[in-house]
């Protein structure tokens, strides 16, 4: 129904520039040599493990189960209620209960300028020795004025936490040195979405890792678990191309197997005059149809588990950086 713009010579010229500047080529696996990982520490995160370059900082990690974020508070001797009230955005406590050894609080949300009329906070606390695991979520104050949306503590009712030990082979995930034994993913099935992430920067000898180094020597790794995309009318007519709009970018793609799953590995080069920047993108897709718990137990559910890595290490020669990126990628595996 809507009027479309006509093709102009300038537009066609612009498109040609865009297309010509994007060169895609395929590399074979043999051309890339992964780095020696023998001195690289192993990181357990979520349902996976990977190895991190030893000259990088210990990775910052995050975990989100559905809309619930998890943090671990170290050496917290106080009462759960005091810990909750010490949170900057916590207002009045509306509800407090114990669910499967979690203390769950529903509170008003103090946003500094105002107290929200639309949302409550939901915090769950679980003590493990001197440490406290804290979950944070929000609840609609409009829909649940009494703060009684029981969906918000389903995760807590199905999850117990302990230090990582022999029991870590049971159904569950690892976060910040703790093991979360949970039936949540099986019970919630394909709706059980989760994301675990790790990010690190190269620790520079100058101690200025935050400055220039952070923009050019770092990696980000996301593990994403969610329902398999059913497609809908999202028509896959031709192969998607996600970088063709950027002039000056060259991409070399290769495919490989990581932990038995299909993986794509891209070397991306941005050239601007004499300035050349290189980074590495990779994605791993484990087979659709198994819940994340299936790495440890067998269970049904149309979930898709994927890992997404972006690695930049301009401090290394390009070939070495590529080997390190590939090393990190190939070290990824489901915890067994």
């Amino acid at each position: 129904m809507h009027q479309r713009a006509a093709f102009s010579p300038m537009a066609i010229l612009g498109l040609l520039v865009v297309l010509l500047s994007t060169l895609a080529a395929c590399k074979t696996e043999e051309q890339i040599v992964p780095a020696d990982l023998s001195a690289w520490p192993t990181v357990h995160l979520g349902f996976h493990q990977f190895r991190t370059p030893p000259d990088f900082t210990a990775p910052d990690i995050t975990a989100t189960i559905g809309s619930t974020a998890i943090t671990v508070l170290r050496n917290q001797a106080g009462r759960a209620q005091d810990i909750v009230l010490a949170q900057e955005d916590v207002g009045e406590i509306i509800r407090h209960m114990t669910v499967n050894d979690w203390e769950v609080f529903v509170t008003s949300e103090d946003m500094g300028l105002i107290v929200s009329s639309y949302t409550y906070l939901v915090l769950g606390l679980y003590r493990v020795g001197n440490d406290v695991v804290m979950t944070r979520d929000s609840m609609s104050r409009t829909d649940f004025p009494k703060g009684d949306d029981a969906e918000k503590w389903l995760f807590h009712s199905l999850t117990r936490v302990a230090p990582v030990g022999p029991n870590a082979r049971a159904m569950g995930f690892v976060f910040d040195g703790l093991f979360f034994e949970t039936a949540y993913f099986d019970q919630a099935g394909p709706d059980a979405e989760a994301m675990f992430s790790a990010s690190a920067v190269r620790a520079e000898e100058t101690g200025q890792a935050e400055a220039d180094a952070a923009a050019s020597n770092n990696y980000q790794l996301y593990f994403i678990i969610g329902p398999a995309d059913q497609g809908g009318d999202d028509r896959p007519l031709v192969k998607p191309n996600d970088i063709a709009d950027v002039p000056g970018v060259k991409v070399e793609n290769s495919t490989l197997k990581v932990d038995g799953a299909d993986a794509g590995f891209s070397r991306v080069t941005l050239r601007e005059g004499d300035d050349v920047q290189t980074w590495f993108d990779a994605t791993v897709f484990w087979p659709v149809g198994s819940s994340p718990g299936a790495t440890l137990t067998s269970s049904p559910g149309a979930t898709l588990t994927s890992a997404h890595l972006k690695f930049v290490n301009a401090a290394e020669p390009e070939a070495d950086a590529e080997g390190r990126a590939l090393g990190l990628l190939t070290s990824i595996s489901r915890r067994r």
């Binding site: 990010s199 690190a200 998607p240 996600d242 941005l270």
Partner: protein, 515 residues
């Protein structure tokens, strides 16, 4: 600042503090820099390559929705996280950057984009002192500007300006305290800091002065292109993204910023700071009218005009745009499409609550700053009044519906979104298309109603309309420039830099402002 006896000073030290506009501060999340306009590689990696763009005409819109959703999810993971937390992002402060001296780093210059703010920072540091001294001595021959340290104050622009103002106030107090200590030791005077602001930085300055107790440390605020009561362009971007500049160098920036509503809403829908740029209760269009949002009837032919006339269907707001426009979840003219707020996965419950949460903060910020006095008592403003720089000062939603030209009018059902329905937003082709192609598609065969936002026609700087300059600041303290300048580039425009220097000379030459 004192209102005591006028005693013209001799030796003076005055800190100058630059507060940038939205997106003008470098930001980090944890140990990662996630926003740095000076790093082309970073912006391409994180944003240009997360733009959801696919080549080819609409016929080849391959996995368009998946691509855009994934791009929006990655952007949101970088700049918002799962759920907005004002501490998730922090400005990069006091970090060494190539091209800056150690002294400039210690004055926090690397907290802002140097490609945007480097020219005025360097001008203020190098050429301003001598010229200011020369100009002020015309009124006060004793005047001796012994020190003028120039600072930059980046801030987390995703957070409410209430919080950004709090952080800025802490810096202002520290830097002024240092200057006053130096003045005391050197028999000089420090009348407080002069704040030079760009766009949203004016909000931060007002917040620091009036909400967080820094007014006594501020001599004057010199604001450039501040959208005092908001800008309709911010509303438009929730629906259709940033404005396509056409083929040119700015196309890359356009792709980085987000060329469609879904990419913008996934971020701005969670950012109270960005929502504070939406028109507030006091906003007026360039013709001074309170109603700035118009739901029009279809364009009529002669027959249609004879039958139905040319009147529009709805004109808003009557009083409160937050409740009458932005939060009207079931109306197509609402600010945030709930389907776009959580591209990574819809949360349990109503995603629109998350938008409401921040929109309530935005409303409260404008109400509180107004009741707290609105501006620092010595505030100057300048704006572009260029009629050639077409700017949204009002928004006209235009329908295209069967029979419209013959007199069929818009009904409530045409602007109401049924429960569970998803409006079909269409974007332009990035190379072949133009801004006018962006629309909500009513469906095939012409049975539904298409909606577009009419192109801007107002004077301004392409983002902030000239009406922003006409409110509540007396004539001698405001300047309108025409020919004018683009909003982002204003702070580098020669006419603006000269105007800033002139206002600084005016302030420093006013002997009654010193103790």
């Amino acid at each position: 600042m004192a209102g005591g006896t006028a005693v013209c000073p001799a030796d003076v030290i005055v800190p100058v503090i630059l507060l940038p506009g939205i997106m003008g501060s470098r930001l980090k999340s944890g140990n990662q820099i996630v926003w740095d306009p000076d790093s082309k590689g970073l912006m391409i990696r994180h944003y240009a390559l997360n733009a959801g763009s696919v080549p080819g005409p609409d016929l080849f819109r391959t996995r368009e929705r998946s691509n855009v959703r994934a791009a929006a999810a990655k952007r949101k993971a970088l700049l918002v996280g799962n759920r907005f937390d004002k501490n998730f992002l922090k400005p990069v402060e006091f970090a060494p950057v190539a091209g800056l001296t150690a002294a400039q780093v210690s004055r926090n210059w690397s907290s802002v984009s140097l490609s945007s703010y480097g020219p005025i920072l360097r001008d203020m540091e190098s050429s301003f002192p001598a010229r200011l001294t020369h100009e002020v001595r015309k009124h006060n021959p004793q005047f001796n500007l012994v020190r003028m340290p120039v600072y930059a104050c980046g801030y987390n622009w995703s957070a409410s300006n209430y919080d950004s103002g709090k952080a800025a106030a802490a810096h202002i107090k520290t830097w002024v305290a240092e200057a006053r200590k130096w003045a005391a030791a050197n028999d000089a005077q420090c009348p407080g800091a002069i704040l030079v602001t760009h766009s949203m930085g004016g909000f931060v300055a007002r917040s620091a002065a009036l909400m967080h107790g820094a007014a006594g440390d501020i001599l004057a605020v010199i604001s450039t292109v501040m959208p005092t009561d908001g800008a309709p362009a911010a509303y438009k971007r929730f629906h259709f993204g940033f404005e396509n500049p056409g083929i040119g160098a700015e196309l890359g920036s356009y792709v980085v910023l987000g060329r469609q509503g879904s990419l913008v809403t996934a971020l701005l829908g969670h950012m109270p700071g960005a929502q504070e740029l939406l028109p507030n209760k006091r906003y007026r269009a360039n013709d001074s009218s309170r109603q700035w949002l118009h739901i029009l009837n279809p364009a009529r032919n002669l027959v249609g005009n004879a039958i139905s006339g040319g009147a529009g269907y709805l004109h808003l707001p009557k009083a409160n745009p937050y409740t009458e426009i932005y939060r009207k979840k079931d109306k197509m003219y609402r600010a945030a499409n709930p389907d776009w707020l959580f591209p990574e996965a819809l949360p349990k419950g109503d995603p629109f609550d998350e938008f409401l949460r921040h929109n309530q903060v935005a409303e409260a910020w404008h109400d509180r700053i107004y009741s707290a006095g609105d501006f620092h008592e010595l505030t100057y403003m300048c704006h572009s009044a260029d009629p050639g720089m077409k700017t949204y000062d009002f928004i006209s939603w235009r329908p295209d519906m069967t029979g419209g030209s013959l007199g069929r009018s818009v009904k409530e059902s045409n602007i109401t979104i049924k429960e569970g329905a998803t409006p079909n937003y269409r974007r332009e082709h990035v190379v072949w298309g133009n801004e006018g192609d962006k629309h909500i598609d009513g469906g095939y065969l012409g049975l539904g109603t298409d909606w577009t936002i009419a192109a801007p026609v107002g004077s301004g700087d392409r983002t902030v309309p000239i009406s922003a300059s006409t409110l509540r600041i007396s004539g001698k303290r405001r300047a309108v420039h025409h020919p004018g300048y683009e909003h982002e580039a204003a702070i580098r425009a020669r006419v603006v830099i000269d105007w800033v220097r002139g206002r600084m000379a005016e302030v420093l030459g006013s002997c009654e402002l010193y103790q």
